[in-house]
């Protein structure tokens, strides 16, 4: 349900990068990293991004989503790996509580930007 807010956050970060480079710069790709252990549904995020990007510098941008798997780390015995059962954070080797190594990511990794002749022309004329 909050994917709209997440998509707005993605757009805001990408827009800022393009705006910092000056007028006529637009965004071609936005690469985000979404951990498996977040409350974000990827399809809903893509849909929200597509509906919010109109009239922004991301109008033609592709949203690329990298899914980051949930990996655990056991401070007791040193085990690392994916959980034995979905989202289970009990160490499968020694039964002690495990920590999260990855899977909570919710970040913009990079953006690809490009100067657009069209926009230059339009704003000059």
């Amino acid at each position: 349900m909050h994917e709209a807010g997440i998509a707005a956050g993605v757009l805001e970060l990408a827009e800022r990068v393009a705006a910092d480079r000056g007028p006529g710069i637009c965004v071609r790709t936005v690469r985000v990293r979404v951990g498996e252990f977040t409350g974000v549904a990827v399809e809903a995020l893509e849909f929200a991004f597509e509906s919010l990007r109109t009239h922004t510098r991301c109008e033609d941008a592709v949203l690329e989503v990298e899914r980051v798997p949930l990996l655990g780390l056991c401070p007791n015995c040193g085990w690392t790996g994916p959980p034995a059962e979905p989202y289970c954070l009990i160490c499968p080797h020694c039964g002690q509580p495990a920590q999260i190594l990855s899977g909570r990511e919710l970040e913009v990794d990079y953006v690809d930007i490009e100067g657009s002749e069209e926009h230059h022309g339009a704003s000059a004329g």
Binding site: I6, G9, V32, F37, G39, P86, L106, V108
Partner: protein, 227 residues
């Protein structure tokens, strides 16, 4: 085409507000608790019971998050505790900015314990740091024993999980043991309390835990000159 590294949390702006809230709470000697649950699991009922039974040495206030109504804030005020209502409209969770605005308007003089009731929702609130010291989840046992596996994030993020409405176990046919095991699988460090706000069962264990946690967290107020 140029590739520009960003490497920034999407919720960075929320996190920044949360950090500012946390600093302000610390300055004023306030411990903040974020109560989360699916709609109707019993957050307001838990607050009513807890605030009635909490040691008089604590000075609590409540911020209520609700989509449209002030009903929950009215319930809290009815037991003599100051309450401030945030109506979020269509937003299904509280965020740190809403809290930051609320604490500008809501006088916190003499308050040392701020309880925040989040909007009823089993998924979204867990992703938004409000600047709280403690996260408490209320779960209604009638929803079944498998939910921690299906909606793990909020269970994982919470310091304490209250398994509420245990008076209904005979009708719901749910196994509390199985439910507890599932909570511990996604959050091996959770403090778990089976309780009933209807009968009062189990509440004293929860309140003992809360009192101990508040005592540990309670920091002396630093600045005296703040508004």
């Amino acid at each position: 085409m140029e590739r520009v590294p960003v490497e920034t949390r999407i919720l960075k702006s929320n996190d920044d507000y949360a950090q500012a809230n946390r600093r302000l709470f610390r300055q004023r000697g306030i411990t903040a608790i974020n109560f989360m649950s699916a709609p109707g699991a019993g957050k307001t009922s838990v607050l009513e019971q807890t605030l009635r039974q909490l040691d008089g040495a604590f000075h609590p206030a409540v911020i209520e998050g609700d989509l449209y109504t002030t009903l929950d804030a009215d319930r809290i005020q009815a037991i003599g505790v100051p309450a401030y209502q945030i109506t979020t409209g269509t937003c299904c969770h509280l965020d740190a900015r809403m809290i930051s605005r609320a604490i500008c308007e809501f006088p916190l003089h003499g308050i040392d314990t701020l309880c925040i009731e989040n909007v009823g929702n089993l998924v979204c609130p867990a992703e938004f740091d409000l600047g709280e010291d403690l996260r408490v989840m209320v779960y209604s046992v009638v929803e079944g024993a498998e939910k921690p596996r299906k909606y793990p994030l909020m269970f994982h993020q919470s310091h304490a999980v209250l398994l509420n409405k245990v008076d209904l176990v005979p009708y719901a046919g749910v196994s509390i043991q199985e439910l507890e095991d599932n909570v511990l699988a996604v959050n091996p460090n959770a403090a778990i309390f089976p309780v009933s706000c209807r009968t009062g069962q189990g509440l004293s264990n929860w309140i003992d835990w809360l009192t101990r946690s508040l005592d540990l967290l309670r920091a002396p107020a630093v600045a005296s000159g703040c508004v």
